[in-house]
Symmetry: C2
Subunit: 321 residues, 2 copies
């Protein structure tokens, strides 16, 4: 078994191939080709922490992936990042462990941003020219989603809003360094009315983005609500949308934004899986409102980990040493 | 994170300390101090295989353990062992991965045998002098259970029965090499009447050891039935025993021998957890029949993995290099 450091992962990481692999995994998930094991959870109290163990396989693939992802909330007091994790690649032919990817959770962050880019592409209007992207939140995922979605839809401007204005300003600076025209929005109403597409990436447990802050034909990629109790979108935003998409219908209805919308009358069959619209789903017409609810898929971990593993294998095959 | 090979594990493995740790884990499990995550399962068909992912933590411990265990049934056609696996030790203080134990499933085999030895100790009669141990089955687990239980109860003789007589003879030879007086029993009735204590370690899905093969006051450690559909003991053996023990009451009643006995009238409250009787449970009097039903606990993995991890840590602390 090969043990792969974060630097080695970064050295071989192929953004375009990984994005295509994540999209393909979402497509195969929607077709029913995924097998995802029950998610394991351990909860710690002193100090507080959560560990999740997720395992998945796409039928027919040569390998499957087991992911360990931990968040220990007091780590920053010791100068440590709260999140940590790794992915294990094992053979679906013999069971043998093949590679341990010590990514410290970085691959999860990346595949989540890529899923956002895939979702944004599906709900974007192909007629847009240099649209404005609204970003709600200012954390690691806000930065990644902003960059990946902006590139995917060819955004001409990024508007950022976060509860803490200094964090929003800092995110704008980081996006500017990457070459994006990024500004802080004075409030969510201005962001909601100016942005062609909005991505929400907060840990909120109460609605942040409300129906009356949005313009007709709003387009939202909702990333934050990925566990029971989390919610970013106000009443009517999902239930009142013309088009409701999700990475996983069952997960979204269980613990995503769609779970709240269901209480407002959203019907199960109204939720369409994003993968079912790939690669060339019908783009929503202007004026049509659309929400894509992302909860995270084990097969996205599979896609990104097997991509790294494939790059490493061909790299070491090419390397005579 | 430290990556530890099977040879390094073997070099530091401490049998006595590990046995004590497994017993202590069973005790803490019975006290409700264990947290075991939902077991993840992936099933493969071409070629056929099963992968289980088990994670557990004993409250207050510094570390938790995630175990990957795979069985790929066609591996022997390629000259590979069917089983493979590894254990990951991670910090319960920060979430950081600490060690990857590449044991190939060996630590699981060992902790299962140790649990058998703990169970045997609990149901053994302290008045026995050089008792006879009966072993049903001739696989890896039969050999390990025979050796660990024989040492634990001070067995003077081991009687082996297996469906294939050549396999039983081969196991006897291997046990003789380890210094045990081991013979093949001509049939299960002879084994049942001569053995003071019997351990069953087959993959049977139909009863093998029947009530009328046993003498009064029989004592059995049942290891084989660890999943739905598996069964080694005939009708009445468990339900008719004076004392019914299990590593986990809920698991035993769900998918161990106790699940079958429940259909014969075994009451939930009749099943006593082994850990509740440790370290000095009341030994059954002569003439009292007893069955210990083992289904395997995640905290046994924790016990053995943390033992290896502790040995490695003190080893490397002592090592100036």
């Amino acid at each position: 078994m090969k043990v792969v450091s974060r630097d080695e992962i970064r050295a071989v990481f192929d953004p375009e191939a990984s994005l295509a692999a994540v999209a393909q995994a979402m497509r195969r998930f929607a077709r029913g080709e995924a097998q995802q094991a029950a998610v394991g959870h351990l909860g710690f109290t002193d100090p507080p922490g959560d560990t999740h163990i997720k395992s998945a396989w796409l039928r027919g693939d040569d390998a499957f992936v087991v992911k360990l992802a931990s968040t220990f909330y007091d780590n920053p007091r010791q100068g440590l990042p709260p999140g940590s994790g790794l992915m294990l690649v094992a053979s679906a032919r013999t069971g043998a462990p093949l590679a341990l990817l010590q990514d410290d959770g970085e691959l999860t962050d990346l595949r989540t941003a890529m899923a956002g880019a895939v979702a944004a592409q599906v709900i974007a209007d192909p007629a847009w020219r240099a649209p404005t992207l609204g970003v709600v939140g200012a954390g690691v995922q806000a930065e990644l989603q902003a960059a990946w979605i902006a590139r995917q839809i060819g955004a001409g401007r990024i508007l950022v809003w976060a509860r803490r204005t200094d964090a929003a300003d800092e995110l704008c600076r980081r996006l500017q360094v990457q070459g994006f025209a990024a500004d802080r929005a004075p409030d969510l109403t201005e962001l909601g009315h100016r942005a062609d597409l909005i991505v929400t990436t907060t840990p909120a447990r109460e609605p942040v983005l409300l129906r009356d802050m949005l313009r007709p034909g709003y387009r939202i990629v909702a990333v934050g609500a990925d566990a029971p109790g989390k919610r970013e979108l106000g009443p009517g935003v999902v239930a009142g949308a013309d088009l409701v998409l999700a990475d996983s219908r069952s997960q979204a209805l269980d613990h995503g934004e769609c779970a709240w919308a269901r209480q407002e009358g959203l019907a199960v069959e109204q939720v369409i899986e994003i993968g079912a619209l790939l690669p060339d789903g019908p783009a929503p017409s202007p004026g049509v409102s659309a929400v894509a609810d992302l909860t995270g898929l084990g097969v996205q971990d599979v896609a990104i980990a097997l991509g790294v593993w494939a790059s490493l294998s061909s790299y070491s095959q090419q390397d005579p040493s």
